[in-house]
């Protein structure tokens, strides 16, 4: 009786629960082991890399880290990338300089559409070279408009004529519709102008507003940055940007080791991962150390100008004071800090 009794569960379900928990624990253990194994496999068999990957999974958003944690994260990345690319890779973490707000100006009359800036940017910023091929600068070939004498007085604001920005010059409108894949023998071509677009480092950036995890944010020196580790790859920012400035790593980036630029910044040109979004940062790793951005240096016609908007003697402020300036899609109130000017 007692024997039989003992076989019968006192409270129905207890035995089941026991098995359940044990099974659950066993399976959880197994799956954790599988995951760890998979993580090791995924990131290559090197132990250091696996350890770094493991630590990166539990890493906080860069903006919320303490200085110590930031240093740890940077040290981890230096270790990982040095091993991955077979050379000494430095990851800079220098913060924004005091009393500096970066601005950019591009002489739209001088640009010849040679795409030197596009490729200089790729060399500097460690973009994926192929499959996917990512480029942060886009140059659009557009038809020149015509000058209509009848519109001479239809200036803006009214009655001030062409001198204050009259619209006698009829152009195609702010459509950004033109040719992206033009490939003539030589540039510039007659009757066309070239419109390079890249991240405008908006003062009120719409991409920052939509980011659900706040991995993209505006730094005090005005540069909109991305914490690639914190990015979940939802690509909301890409659709929010009116300037088509952001790119997504649609696959595992392909960056040949010999072409990799070893001078990197955490928020700038360090190698990205599959799924992370990236964009122009005015070459954060260079400009925070006093150097011109790569595209400014590369431009063979000197159409690109860069400087501190808070300094009245800077190139950008002089251009704003002296030249005819317009902004792209200014009516969207994003307050871009990238200006187009004409002589």
């Amino acid at each position: 009786m007692a024997d039989t009794n003992s076989k019968i569960p006192d409270q129905p379900g207890e035995k089941d629960n026991g098995t359940n928990r044990r099974d659950f624990l066993k399976e959880t253990g197994l799956s954790v082991a599988a995951l760890t194994g998979a993580a090791t496999l995924l990131t290559g068999s090197q132990e250091a890399e696996a350890r770094v990957t493991w630590a990166e999974w539990f890493q906080k958003s860069y903006r919320l880290m303490t200085n110590e944690e930031q240093k740890d994260a940077i040290a981890r990345l230096e270790e990982r990338h040095s091993q991955e690319f077979g050379k000494k890779v430095t990851v800079d973490g220098s913060p924004a300089m005091k009393d500096v707000l970066f601005g950019y100006a591009l002489n739209i009359k001088k640009c010849i559409g040679c795409r030197t800036c596009v490729h200089a940017c790729v060399k500097e910023n460690n973009q994926s070279r192929y499959n996917p091929e990512l480029q942060w600068i886009r140059v659009i070939k557009m038809e020149k408009g015509e000058f209509l004498a009848a519109n001479m007085d239809k200036g803006y604001p009214k009655d001030y004529g062409i001198e204050v920005g009259g619209n006698a010059y009829e152009n195609a409108g702010v459509t950004l519709e033109g040719e992206h894949y033009y490939q003539p023998e030589t540039v510039p071509e007659k009757d066309y102008f070239y419109f390079p677009i890249q991240c405008m480092q908006c003062e009120k950036p719409p991409c920052v507003k939509v980011c659900p995890v706040r991995s993209t944010y505006r730094e005090p020196d005005g540069i909109v940055v991305i914490d690639y580790n914190w990015c979940i790859g939802c690509r909301m920012c890409i659709s929010a940007c009116p300037y088509w400035a952001r790119r997504s790593n649609w696959g595992e980036p392909n960056l040949p080791a010999e072409e990799m630029n070893p001078k990197t910044h955490y928020l700038g040109n360090r190698p990205r991962m599959n799924g992370a979004t990236e964009k122009c940062t005015f070459c954060l790793q260079r400009v925070r150390n006093g150097r011109y951005p790569a595209c400014v240096e590369a431009c063979p016609v000197g159409a690109r100008k860069f400087g501190n908007l808070l300094d009245p003697d800077s190139e950008v402020r002089k251009i704003l004071a002296r030249k005819g300036v317009f902004r792209l899609k200014a009516e969207l109130n994003t307050y871009p800090k990238f200006f187009y000017f004409i002589d």
């Binding site: 998979a38 030197t116 200089a120 006093g290 011109y292 501190n308």
Partner: protein, 261 residues
Amino acid sequence: MRNIKLSRNIFYALLALLMITEIGYSQDAQPAQDEELVKDCYESREDYGYVERRDIEPALPNVICSQTTSRVLWWGDPYDGTIPLGDMPLEADYSHEEAVVTPREKQLKIFMPCTTCHNGKTVPVPKNKEPRLIQFHQDIVPNALQLMHGKGSIWCLDCHSMTNRDKLISFRAEEISLNQPQKLCGKCHGEVYRDWRDGIHGKRIGSWTKGGKKRWWVCTECHNPHTVDANIFLPIKPEPAPALPKGMKSADHEHKEYGHQ
């Protein structure tokens, strides 16, 4: 219970399969690299001086050249091989030590100084500046009677010194080094010169900071003074276009003929 267990096992199996396929998923083969690395490249003007790629430090080249257009894309050391720019006739916001240029006169030494021939004996000193046909230097000026600069109002000897051909000369008979052509050009092109001096015309590399060290491009590094009337800037070959999106066969849709407005 059994069913749940079974389905859970299937789930794990699928997960493992997914991970394996993820690891095994291989990218398309890397595009073939150019066998020979372009090492001689030009900076702005294709017919001007060339710069040779070399390593300043291990794994840090002085320049990175484009493999398709042999244009310099990137400078490892922006001040490599430069000399101080020297005085500017009017003060600009730069400090003298921090403004550098690449010397042009060194080219004369590499090839041959002009005065090897233009020494007054081999080639006599011309009597006046009147334009006339010349037998030499057709590579620079094909027809000396149609100099493509100044729309017929100036000629060779208005800029090149009659007596010392290694130097330029201003209309006030001051000799000007070929390293500093801006001193000559600025005499006529005052407005552009002012913009250049203030850094809003022309090209500079180095430090963006106020008073920071910069390499300045002088006028002739971008403009060919002998052909400016034809081309202010000589047309150059563009870098390759971006890759077409997956599945797009051609970019014909972009053209006007295609019905694109």
